[in-house]
């Protein structure tokens, strides 16, 4: 006769009323993720191209001009400034106007003609490591290529012994949206579900209505499910919205099954909701809940592989990343959307998420029993 879900429909209906009445919160919780999506989708390009470059061409003859053309055509360098002294060259970099300085010495063409080694000085501003890295790679490659061409031309056997042909699978143009948006899905979903559930429970704490509900016949499962389900629905709606925008506005192709993605998002949403409950068992005010929620968002952004690849992290953070739920869901979204991965490839992620969600829910339920109901 004891229905463990007692009170579920009453709580669910009431929660839906709150959401409808507080339309502003709903609107913002849906619109802000979309704004973030537009900022990241259109605004950020991690591919480094057109680095501002200053040139001191002391030679000025045909060979040196050819070298500059090659640099220009690489798309990596944007030759914005030509100077006439070493001092001006360094000054352009120190002032921050250019990131890279190239000095072609006065004897460049002569040395090439006499088949001697000609040196080109490349000054690189190291303050942004990825720009510096790209500049080193491209200049070295151009130098090597140029040298090879000359060697081959004189050897009478104009073919490469080894010819590497790299082919990038899954995101051939290295478009940033393709890389960012699937990961963003994980962050945004976490954002919405964790924040909204934590707030909806903490608000009842603040008002004292939670205390009231405990002395009614509502059963804990009925209460929690009734409160969570509306936000689960909102989270799911949000996911669909993000996917539609991603596919049709940012033209990120989805190679795998959308249905599988939707299915695998459930354990992740489950983790986020449990996290929200855990936060609400600790926080006594909405401000406190906000801070705690941010505490969960930050590791999800930095340690999940969303922005920085996990493989290059120091050992400690790499291990830490295994405890971040977003790590697994980003693996799932990138897997399905970019690589067309299936259940066979991703079931471990789903199991990990489900396990984490269960653990969190158990901890949260216990904390709730001890710190909230019996306090």
């Amino acid at each position: 006769m004891l229905n463990p879900f007692r009170g579920f429909s009453a709580v669910f209906y009431k929660e839906a009323l709150h959401v409808r009445r507080d339309f502003g919160t709903l609107f913002f919780s849906l619109i802000i993720p979309l704004l973030q999506m537009f900022l990241l989708g259109f605004g950020i390009d991690t591919n480094i191209r057109q680095i501002n470059t200053v040139v001191y061409n002391a030679d000025g003859r045909r060979e040196s001009r050819e070298l500059l053309d090659r640099l220009r055509n690489s798309d990596t360098f944007h030759l914005v400034r030509f100077v006439e002294s070493d001092h001006d060259l360094t000054d352009a970099i120190v002032s921050g106007k250019c990131r890279v300085g190239i000095k072609i010495p006065v004897d460049y063409s002569d040395k090439l003609l006499h088949q001697m080694s000609a040196q080109v000085l490349v000054l690189i501003d190291g303050s942004d490591s990825s720009v510096a890295g790209q500049a080193i790679n491209v200049t070295t490659a151009i130098g090597l290529d140029e040298s090879l061409q000359r060697v081959l031309a004189t050897s009478g056997n104009p073919t490469f012994a080894v010819d590497m042909r790299p082919k990038i699978l899954f995101n051939p143009d290295s478009r940033s949206p393709n890389f960012f948006l699937p990961g963003l899905t994980a962050i945004l979903l976490l954002n919405v579900t964790t924040f909204l559930t934590a707030f909806s429970i903490v608000r009842e704490k603040e008002r004292g209505t939670l205390e009231q509900l405990f002395v009614t016949p509502v059963r804990p499962m009925g209460l929690l499910l009734g409160k969570l389900l509306p936000y689960l629905m909102i989270g799911f709606f949000e996911l669909c919205m993000i996917l539609v925008f991603m596919r049709f506005i940012f033209s990120v192709p989805i190679h795998g099954s959308v249905l599988l993605l939707a299915l695998l998002s459930l354990p992740y949403i489950f983790v986020s909701l449990s996290l929200g409950i855990l936060i609400s068992s600790k926080a006594n005010s909405q401000a406190e809940a906000m801070q705690l929620a941010f505490l969960t968002i930050l590791p999800s952004i930095f340690f999940s592989g969303y922005i920085f690849p996990r493989e290059t992290m120091p050992k400690f953070f790499y291990v830490l990343s295994y405890f971040v739920p977003a790590t697994y869901f980003i693996d799932i979204t990138r897997g399905i959307i970019l690589r067309g991965a299936g259940w066979v490839h991703l079931w471990t992620d789903a199991v990990a998420l489900f396990f984490m969600g269960t653990m969190l829910l158990v901890i949260a339920a216990r904390r709730f029993q001890n710190k909230v109901i019996m306090a």
């Binding site: 004292g208 205390e211 009231q212 002395v215 019996m374």
Partner: protein
Amino acid sequence: MSDLEKPAISAQNLVRRFGSFTAVNDVSFRVQKGEIFGFLGPNGSGKTTVIKMLTGLLPLSGGEASVLGIDVRKDPETVRENIGYMSQNFSLYSDLTVTENLTFYGRIYGLSNDRLRKRMDDIIQLNGLGPYLNRLSAQLSGGWKQRLALGCAMLHEPKLIFLDEPTAGIDPVARRQLWDLLFELSAHGITFFVTTHYMDEAERCSHVAYIYYGKLIADGTPDSLRELPDVQPPGTYRVEITTPEVTRALRIARTLPGIRSATIFGQSIHALINDDLDLDRLREQLLKQGIVVAEIRPLAPSLEDVFVELTYKHQSEIEATRA
């Protein structure tokens, strides 16, 4: 014992420990059906803990409790099904209307649509909420919030209602109206368990108990408590001395022989004095010290006097056992 005679609440030797701290220490009391039971005590003395134990939220560390004849330890769900509860912050959803709040609590208790509609009509009639049905509860004044909260707590026709400081922060008129309503409902057989800090409210209860740091130190009708020997020791009586100079008079009164204790009460002094000191001699002695007494008259102890005396006695007992 037939069902009718069973007490609404029966608590026997209740104990609740939190670690090494004993929040409720061997507390026993009975509340009969139809009583308005006032449960008093300073903040942190264990009032809320007792309510949580009686409503099945907090397991008992010892003792037994039955509410409406149901064992709290065995069947807390059925207990909660049959009681009403109103907390001091009224526990309403401020962004829902009066009707929506009522509907929600009605559904929580599983009322059918027909019964819910009928009960809502009854309660709206009783509480006079009619004109405010579509107003958000955030826009109601304190008194109306309290009526709505009480309405929500009694939709399912509970036979016992817990009111945790129901009049904290509401105006005197609303306070009076609430008590009128409680009397009316209690006449219909509903039992109330009320905690309060107001002594005048305690005086209105048909049964009061006073808990002091986990120990129940008073339990009875207000009149029976006034006659306790600890409160009114044999060979003493109480007087009220009205004078324009209360503070100086108090200092002097405390030094006079025959006066056992004295405290200020508004513009007068309440004193416990020996029978052999009659009113005229007291007046004379005060005048000798330059205190003009406007009026002096015998007085029955108030409940506040009762609780003050019992607290002193309890404290000295604790100190005695320590020493």
